[in-house]
């Protein structure tokens, strides 16, 4: 045993402490701790670690096991592809699954550049001026505190900032957009043949829908006139048709062809809209984008902090090496620092994204519990997410829905794990590249 051990001696096991540095050889022998007791402590510590780790594994296995046992019987193709019908046997979660994937993908695409960029600014471009440094430490303090804010608070913030945009575009009237591109509005009329009373006895009379384009969603309803050109869907394309208008006093035509082209002059059309994939509106409304931005607020602090840690762990000798070769700040960051930090950044991002996938409270505030039949088609489309759908199912009184909720949890876990698996594989690849 070297004399170095004496530096951190702790009196125990009958060994007398000898604080005085000048002791005889015999005194030194006395103060050395017995090897046996130290080894015993070492073994006990290792055992304690195994037990503690084991407890968490057991709890996790128990939870997962009970969920899987409950959910497996209800796990079916219908659950994955179906819509949330009120009948438990037909209920599916497809709109929620698609909504989760949409929201989380968009959230990741927005958050990662912002989060990593902020971390790079803080770690790599430390300002030189005193004021700049003050400002930076203030930002740093804010980021650390924001990581602990309950997510429901972010939900309310998102509602104000993204859904209604602080009312900058005028008080939201039923959430109507103040500005939009990519939307076309139609007034939809049904023909007389769809009236079961009028079409009685007239065979070949088929139900048809005619669409009259309107300029804006707020326009007054179209008044149908005879000889007016409307549009009709033939398959996927809109074809023009000339319609007849039958007044209240007129007799409806008896010719099936003519009847199917006739519209009741007093009918009130339904306003429908077609939205292109690039549909965009201001304020954002309760759409996918608002949800993704709100989740961004929730996970941004986590991503910034973990990216900062990863960047800080890159040895400064690498930066000096690149700088010494004449690399600019951008070249150092892009070629050296970020690649070296990427495994750490990815680990933080995985954890943050897992949180985003499971987050319910802010989405509940942004999207509300709405009945959604379709996967989102554009950034402003209404949506629901799996956690919300599960929450919805668990709050139903029927026992069957609880089993479906358990199956939904299994699906959510599978999505979560596959997101994580992709990220872990990516990280492994990067690590192999780096080492």
């Amino acid at each position: 045993m070297s004399s170095e051990n004496r530096k951190d001696e702790i009196p125990s096991d009958g060994a007398t402490a000898n604080a005085g540095a000048s002791g005889s050889r015999a005194d030194k022998e006395k103060t050395l701790r017995g090897s046996d007791s130290r080894m015993a402590t070492d073994r006990a510590f290792r055992r304690a670690c195994v037990i503690i780790a084991g407890i968490s594994v057991v709890i996790l296995t128990f939870l997962l096991g009970s969920i899987v046992l409950q959910g497996l019987p209800s796990l079916s193709i219908t659950l994955l592809t179906g819509t949330p019908e009120p009948e438990p046997s037909q209920a599916g979660a497809w709109p929620a699954i698609a909504g989760t994937v949409w929201v989380c993908t968009i959230c990741a695409l927005i958050t990662l550049p912002i989060g990593i960029g902020t971390a790079v600014l803080i770690e790599e471009f430390r300002p030189k001026s005193r004021l700049g440094r003050r400002l930076l430490s203030l930002i740093q303090l804010n980021i650390s505190n924001l990581a602990g804010v309950p997510s429901v608070v972010y939900g309310i913030l998102g509602l104000t900032a993204f859904v209604s945009m602080f009312g900058l575009f005028g008080a939201a009237k039923n959430g109507e957009p103040a500005f939009e591109i990519g939307a076309t509005y139609y007034d939809q009329f049904t023909n007389l043949a769809s009236d079961p009373f009028l079409s009685m006895g007239i065979e070949d009379a088929e139900e048809r829908y005619f669409l009259a384009p309107v300029a804006a969603s707020s326009d007054p309803p179209t008044v149908p006139k005879s000889g007016m050109t409307m549009f009709e869907y033939i398959g996927e394309t809109l074809e023009p048709v000339t319609i007849n208008v039958v007044g209240a006093e007129d007799f409806p035509p008896t010719d099936p062809k003519e009847l199917s082209l006739s519209v009741d002059g007093n009918s009130i059309p339904g306003r429908i809209s077609e939205k292109a994939w690039y549909y965009f509106r201001l304020p954002f409304g309760r759409g996918v984008l608002a949800g993704a931005l709100t989740l961004m607020l929730v996970i941004l602090p986590v991503i910034i902090i973990s990216s900062q840690e990863a960047l800080r762990a890159v040895p400064s000798s690498l930066r000096d090496g690149a700088r010494g070769l004449g690399a600019t700040s951008w070249q150092v960051i892009w070629n050296i620092t970020l690649p070296a930090a990427s495994p750490g950044i990815l680990t933080g991002s995985i954890l943050a994204m897992s949180r985003a996938i499971g987050e319910t409270a802010p989405i509940l505030i942004i999207a509300g519990i709405v009945y959604i039949r379709n996967a989102p088609h554009h950034l402003m489309d209404s949506y629901t997410v799996l956690p919300l759908q599960i929450y919805n199912w668990t709050s139903r009184p029927q026992e069957e829905f609880h089993a479906i909720a358990a199956a939904g949890i299994v699906v959510l876990l599978v999505i979560l794990l596959s997101f994580n698996a992709i990220a872990v594989i990516l990280r492994q690849r990067m690590q192999n590249k780096v080492r």
Partner: protein, 278 residues
């Protein structure tokens, strides 16, 4: 290190990518000239009125006890001190007609002309090839074949080619400490610098690797102006032409290595080179 095999590659590359090397003549104008240079870190003055001229295409050694300012001066030669925001300097420091203290100096170009090798080998966590190709890629657009010629030339020049030629795509961190340091030297000379700064390049290496680096310095002295900071007095006396002795931020003595080690003017220098302190 068989010279006859590396001749042709060397010549070809000198014409294409490292033209400065070819037409540097044996003139007596100094490579780097410092006049009354004072440098601070915050309130601490690290250098006191340094005046010295680093001769071209010779090896100049900086010796002195720890904290005497030799590394600080070296880091001013290619403005590595820019990363330390409390560092500042007054006086004159020039490389040819380039003012090294002017804030408008193009540090990117300066660092291409003045390469640096650090105390601890710091290969990038990339392949061996990528490490050497990193510098040239920053400054030049090269064809693939030109780049691989240049990498081979630099690795041969740094006497590490024979050890790595079969595993250019292997990670550089898998090399031994001495190989890593020679790789870093190859990386530094691949950008075609005029001056090569070495900040205690052998202090973390075993004797065999140290010997390899010293041999390498000997090989490179004809083409590069080399400034080496060292704590190893034997190393300074073995491989340098001129030596500067630093003490407490001042240059106590700057002379030919032979004179400084055998009959120094100053008593402090004499004490230091005889190992009485430091």
């Amino acid at each position: 290190m068989t010279t006859n095999t590396l001749e042709p590659i060397e010549k070809r590359n000198m014409n294409t990518v490292t033209p400065e090397l070819a037409n540097q003549s044996e003139d007596s104008t100094p490579a780097i000239q410092a006049d009354n240079l004072n440098a601070w870190y915050g309130d601490f003055q690290a250098l006191h009125s340094i005046s010295l001229s680093i001769p071209k295409k010779q090896v100049t050694a900086f010796i002195g006890p720890s904290g005497c300012g030799k590394s600080t001066l070296l880091r001013w030669f290619n403005r590595m001190n820019d990363t330390i925001h409390t560092a500042r300097a007054t006086g004159n420091l020039s490389l040819g007609d380039m003012d090294l203290l002017d804030s408008s100096t193009d540090v990117v170009d300066l660092r291409r002309r003045v390469g640096i090798v650090f105390q601890k080998a710091n290969p990038f966590p990339k392949s061996i090839f990528e490490n050497v190709a990193f510098g040239p890629r920053l400054h030049m657009r090269l064809e693939k074949s030109e780049l691989s010629d240049l990498v081979e030339w630099a690795l041969r020049k740094a006497a590490v080619w024979n050890e790595v030629k079969d595993r250019l795509n292997a990670p550089a961190l898998g090399l031994s400490g001495g190989q890593q340091q020679r790789l870093c030297i190859a990386r530094a000379i691949a950008t075609g610098p005029e001056v090569l700064l070495m900040d205690e390049p052998c202090s973390a290496l075993d004797p065999a690797s140290t010997l390899a680096i010293e041999d390498l310095i000997d090989e490179l002295r004809d083409q590069y102006t080399i400034v080496i900071v060292t704590h190893n007095m034997q190393q300074a006396s073995r491989c340098s032409d001129k030596t500067a002795f630093f003490f407490e931020g001042r240059v106590i003595e700057f002379d030919t290595t032979e004179k400084l080690f055998t009959q120094p003017d100053s008593q402090t220098t004499d004490d230091y080179v005889r190992g009485r302190f430091g």
